[in-house]
Structure formats: C-alpha cells, structure tokens
C-alpha cells in the first residue's frame, strides 16, 4: 500500500492557496493530497481565460474580491465556503497510464464516493465536473508538469451562489446548453452546522481516497522548501497583477 502525504490547511489567503499548490507540484517527490479553505472570498480564472471576459472587474475591485489566474485551465470559480482539494501525483501507475480525460474521471471517484457517503447523489459529468441532478457541486482542473499531475477542485459547502453570479459574467450560450446552476452541500445535507459539515467532508474525502486508491496517509505540513517556493510563486505570480490579468508562460 502506498503512502501519501496529507496536508490539511485551514483558511488561507487566496494567492497563498494557489502558490502552495504550485510549489507542491514543483517540488514534491511523494504523492500529496492537500485539503484547504479560503480566508476571504475570491475568484480564480482558468489559465486560458481572459479576466475581462469572465469577471465583472470593477465590482470585484469595489468589494475587495481578488481575482487570480490559476496554473490550470477550466473556468472561473468563485471560492467561498468551500472545501478545496489538490492532489499531486507522479505520472506513474493509473495516473500515468490514463489519458487526461480518463484521469479526470478517475480522480472524481473518491470525491463522488465521499459525497455519496454523506447522502449526496453525486455523479461524474465529463469533462471535469461532479453534479447532483443537473447542478454542479464540484469543478476540477488539472495540469501536468515536471513528470507530475496536479489536479485541484472545489466541493461547494455553503457558497453564496447568488453572490457568485454577481461577480462572474456567465455566457448565456453556456447556460442554455450546459445549464450553469450550482448546488451546495448545505442545500442537501440538513441538520449539520457549517463547521460540522466541513469536518465530516474532510473525513469522508480522506477515507474515500484511502479506500479507492488503496493508500495510507501521513499527515504533515508543506516542507520548508515548499514554503519558500510558495512565497516566491505568490510574489511573482499569484499576487502579481501582470500574471493575473494576462496569460503569461508559467
């Protein structure tokens, strides 16, 4: 049975969250699952997106909502009261053999299993979503660099979805064809406080990864080198307006 590192971070600053994921991708030699929250509402946009096409910039500035470009593709996400995971794994074994689209489906399995264990009828919707009914509860995005894959994604717990729609410019074509509605865990699971819901979800996600990927976890924090790298990446990329506003090579 393989041993993975498990990192559980409480709410961190949005640019730090992205920097830590990126530092782990660059430096780690062992598979790592990181679970984290956000200290303040924020928007991340996909690597290939144009900020002005996805986000009402002036409103974000007015309300102090940072907008950060991710290393990964995919769509714009409003992060608030969600559990985010990031998984870094060498391109070996099932993750190395599978195509990118298949690996989305593969990594969705423990997330779906975790949600189902909480009574949520979650299903995978290609390419990179997990849905309940026809509504999205989790979006996921992957990059592959340095012989490793990084996949990170959200599980919406108590996100204010009306607030979310204020900040994002959602294309009517997309709403028409895909349906954009999202759903949060707190809309489905009743009788739990928000904090209890986060606790249960963290337990459910870690045990689902253990069971489905046959791994053991060793809980740890990021290394000193990863911390130093994250400081540098946060400064030069994720809190840097040039990176966040324009697509540059990472």
């Amino acid at each position: 049975m393989n041993t993975w590192r498990l990192i559980i971070h409480n709410a961190c600053a949005p640019s730090w969250n992205m920097a830590v994921d990126s530092a782990i991708l660059r430096l780690t030699k062992i598979p790592t699952l990181r679970l984290y929250r956000w200290s303040t509402p924020a928007i991340t946009i996909g690597y290939f997106q144009d900020i002005e096409k996805e986000v009402h910039i002036e409103l974000c500035k007015k309300d102090d909502i940072p907008v950060i470009r991710r290393l990964t593709g995919g769509g714009a996400v409003f992060h608030h009261e969600e559990l985010t995971y990031s998984m870094v794994h060498p391109l070996q074994g099932p993750f190395g053999k599978s195509s990118i689209t298949h690996s989305y489906a593969l990594i969705a399995q423990p997330l779906i299993h975790a949600l189902r264990s909480m009574g949520v009828d979650a299903q995978y919707r290609p390419i990179n979503d997990i849905i309940v009914g026809n509504r999205k509860i989790s979006g996921n995005a992957q990059t592959r660099k340095e012989g490793k894959l990084l996949q990170h994604g959200t599980i919406l717990v108590a996100t204010d979805t009306e607030k979310m729609l204020q900040y994002l410019t959602i294309d009517p074509k997309k709403i028409k064809q895909e349906g954009n509605p999202v759903i949060t865990l707190s809309e489905i699971v009743k009788g739990l406080s928000k904090e209890s819901m986060f606790e249960q979800l963290i337990k459910a996600v870690t045990s689902s990864f253990k069971e489905l990927f046959a791994v053991n976890f060793e809980e740890a924090d990021i290394t000193l080198q990863e911390n130093d790298m994250a400081i540098e990446l946060e400064r030069s990329y994720f809190s840097n307006e040039q990176w966040n506003c324009r697509r540059l090579s990472p």
Binding site: G46, Y47, F48, Q49, D50, K53, L71, T72, G73, G74, G75, A76, S99, I100, T101, P126, I127, N128, A141, Q142, T143, R144, K145, D171, K173, K174, Q177, R247, S249, P250
Partner: protein, 94 residues
C-alpha cells in the same frame, strides 16, 4: 478593430476567438476560454503558427495538426475544427 466570436460546440468548452485579418490572412489571433490544452504554453505556439496563414480551412487545420503531432500537445474541451470554425465565422464578419 479585432473581431470576436464565441463558440460552444457540443461536448466542448466555451471558446472565444479574437482575431484580426489583413486582406485574407490572419494578422492577429487570441484564443481563450475554459478549455484545457497540455502543455498550457502550447496555446501561444498555436496562435503564433496561425499568423500570416490564409483563411483556408485545410491549411489552418494542417498547421495545427502538425504542431500537435510534433509537440505532443493534447487538447481537451476544444478541437481543431472549432478553431477553424471560429476563424471562418470571424472572417465572414470582417
């Protein structure tokens, strides 16, 4: 002034194409959206390779396919045919 087209083909992600033409050739192009391309930097190579090409579907298609093959590029949620379609739609508007 550049032309902007938005495409959402079944099974794909949203693709924006901003483009300028000089006579019948592509003089500037920027492709954006919520798709995935691996490695990510390849988007710049694709845009660069299209500059100066005539708006001829076969030429554009062949150029991108060659780039994909030679550089081990993988596209998810976007296709060569969608890029060609976007260029043609924009050209029709020019």
């Amino acid at each position: 002034m550049s032309i902007h087209v938005v495409l959402k083909n079944p099974g794909e992600k949203l693709v924006h194409i901003d483009i300028d033409f000089e006579k019948s050739t592509i003089s500037w192009i920027h492709i954006s959206g919520d798709f995935f391309i691996y490695p990510e930097e390849a988007i710049g190579d694709i845009e660069q390779a299209l500059l100066g090409l005539p708006v001829a579907p076969q030429v554009i298609e062949q150029t991108i396919f060659t780039l994909i093959k030679n550089n081990d590029i993988e596209m998810v949620g976007i296709s060569v045919s969608t890029i060609v379609q976007g260029i043609q739609e924009a050209f029709a508007q020019s």
